[in-house]
Symmetry: C2
Subunit: 329 residues, 2 copies
DNA sequence: GTGAAAGCGCTAACAA
DNA sequence: TTGTTAGCGCTTTCAC
């Protein structure tokens, strides 16, 4: 692969001039420009990003950190991030931590090493202290999950309000025994959604029973199935279940089917995230849609603005309750 | 952020020695090593990948090209690729083409630009000629889909045989009217799976009816629903359907449910890929499991071996028919 | 408008 | 064992 000097030689100019042509600098005669462009074509030249990036000390690579590829929740967000980034001349490096601190370290080092310019973190299991430390010297934006002390700009929805809406929807349908399948409350979103759930129950004078609040280990289908199994074993069985993720809700739905009960007749069910599968289950799943693509785009634009020296503020977007068969009367 | 010279100054050695310490070269006294390591700590130094990569003219970044994030088929493969790559000190850059030639170009340019060392292509819509051209100067491995002329090493399963097994399974259950929901036969895997399907039918003396072979536009749920709708409108309705992807099969299942028919009683159904959702549907879906994680690992190891100058050969792995409720008698 | 030269941070060949 | 030096490919002053 040819380098810039070979192009310069071939065109009979200096490498500085070639560089000017490459970067659309104005101070180049039309004539020289054409000679250079011809040489570039002849030699099939492609400028090396490595050299350029070293010189400019930027990589134009953005790190996107997620806990896990297999949660479809992230895919639309990533689409949004990627579309915006590519449009702005950045590429994204998708990093899966598996909630493993070692892998997290590898990725953070890439930023310290200048292999990436900034980070969009969507990992709720992230070590906030380390992220915070990184944020002192590097551009970081959080998406979905965020730092409660708001030291790092984020884009998210109002989880408390969304959960409140879900619970209220169930109450209006006449349910009085409403269970919550929550994930680990070490996650901010989990604490917030629980708050919203409890606020609605209180507001309508319903008791909050601890045995109706189940905490899963993870967000896999099995976690949902297991949770539902436990809830169905209770003496006083709930008539409605709100799961804080669609994957959990789908696992729960499976368990209801296995036990030959019916959704929504025996048990109403609500999920969260509106992943594409939630519309393919039988019955289809009532859920909360986050504006995922928009969140991704917003996160990317915040990060890139930040890299360009602007100060950016956090953004809270609107969610939407999508009512489907799993909560129809 | 400190650079290597500052560390060298602080430790009272030359930058070459610091470099030796960083790269675990043996020719360093324990004493010097300690001084250097202390200086590194004191200055909070992290070596710049940019400088290192330029010098070594490698990026230790591998491009993984997929058509679309939202097909869960790819997630396990990517896990395999990523685990192996990280273990070998490479990182992966996940690239979604959306089957858009422009985006494909962007990614290929990253290789030409030295921003990535090699490519694992899983995109069946890839422009084979361009990929072939790239392969002349760069390390490329294909995964799942491959070049029929075998000019580029690949890892895949035997699609013809897998489809044959599926059709035979349905025939043994007594089905004689077996439809195929295939994707576009511009894809090699689609042509191969059709061949296997037809071979089984022929072998058992069943006619191949063109109206029972439906071609979808894409691999989304809707494509499956639409295909099933058409098949159910036929005068002579099939009693079994083989869909070449789980996403299609799940869409098809949805349509069967909508029409208030029963799987497997009215229609038996088989998918392909064993995505995690295929075990969550009601009924659960019979499908073909590709050894996805293994495929990913294999593809990564082939690529890295290639980068290290070895010659690599294509690999064909074994698949497995997973029989679940959608084809139970 | 163009070229010469310096330097981004690192490693490797060679010398000592 | 360690240091000196050159150079990876590019951009950007500063001259001219």
């Amino acid at each position: 692969m040819a380098n810039i000097r070979e192009v310069a030689n071939k065109a009979g100019v200096s490498s500085a001039t070639v560089s000017r042509v490459l970067n659309n600098a104005h101070a180049v005669t039309e004539n020289t420009r054409q000679k250079v462009e011809q040489a570039i074509k002849d030699l099939n030249y492609e400028p090396s990003m490595l050299g350029r990036n070293l010189r400019n000390s930027e990589s134009r690579l953005l790190l996107v950190v997620i806990p896990n590829f297999s949660n479809p929740y992230y895919t639309e967000i990533i689409n949004g991030i990627e579309d915006y980034s590519i449009e702005q001349g950045y590429n994204i490096l998708l990093c899966e931590t598996d909630s493993n601190p070692n892998r997290e370290n590898i990725f953070f080092n890439m930023v310290k090493n200048k292999l990436a310019d900034g980070v969009i973190s969507m990992d709720p299991t992230v070590n906030m202290d380390k992220l915070q430390e990184l944020a002192e010297k590097h551009a970081i934006v959080m998406c979905s999950e965020y730092d409660e002390q708001e030291r790092i700009p984020y884009v998210a929805i109002n989880n408390e309000r969304a959960a409140y809406k879900v619970a209220k929807h169930l109450i209006r349908l006449g349910h009085e025994k409403i269970a919550l399948i929550n994930s680990d409350e070490k996650f901010l979103y989990a604490r917030q959604r629980r708050k919203g759930y409890e606020r609605a129950l209180k507001e309508f004078g319903l008791p909050i029973k601890l045995e109706w609040i189940y905490h899963t280990q993870g967000l896999d289908f099995q976690d949902g199935s297991q949770a539902m199994r436990k809830l169905l074993q209770l003496e006083e069985c709930p008539t409605a279940v709100f799961a804080v993720s669609d994957t959990i809700a789908i696992g729960a739905l499976k368990e209801v089917n296995v036990q030959e009960l019916k959704v929504p007749d025996d048990i109403a069910l609500v999920g969260f995230d509106n992943i594409s599968f939630s519309n393919m289950t039988n019955p289809t799943l009532t859920t909360v849609a986050q504006p995922m693509y928009q969140m991704g785009k917003t996160a990317a634009s915040m990060l890139i603005n930040r890299l360009q020296g602007q100060k950016v503020d956090s953004v809270v977007l609107d969610d939407e309750l999508i009512i489907r068969e799993s909560t129809l009367n």
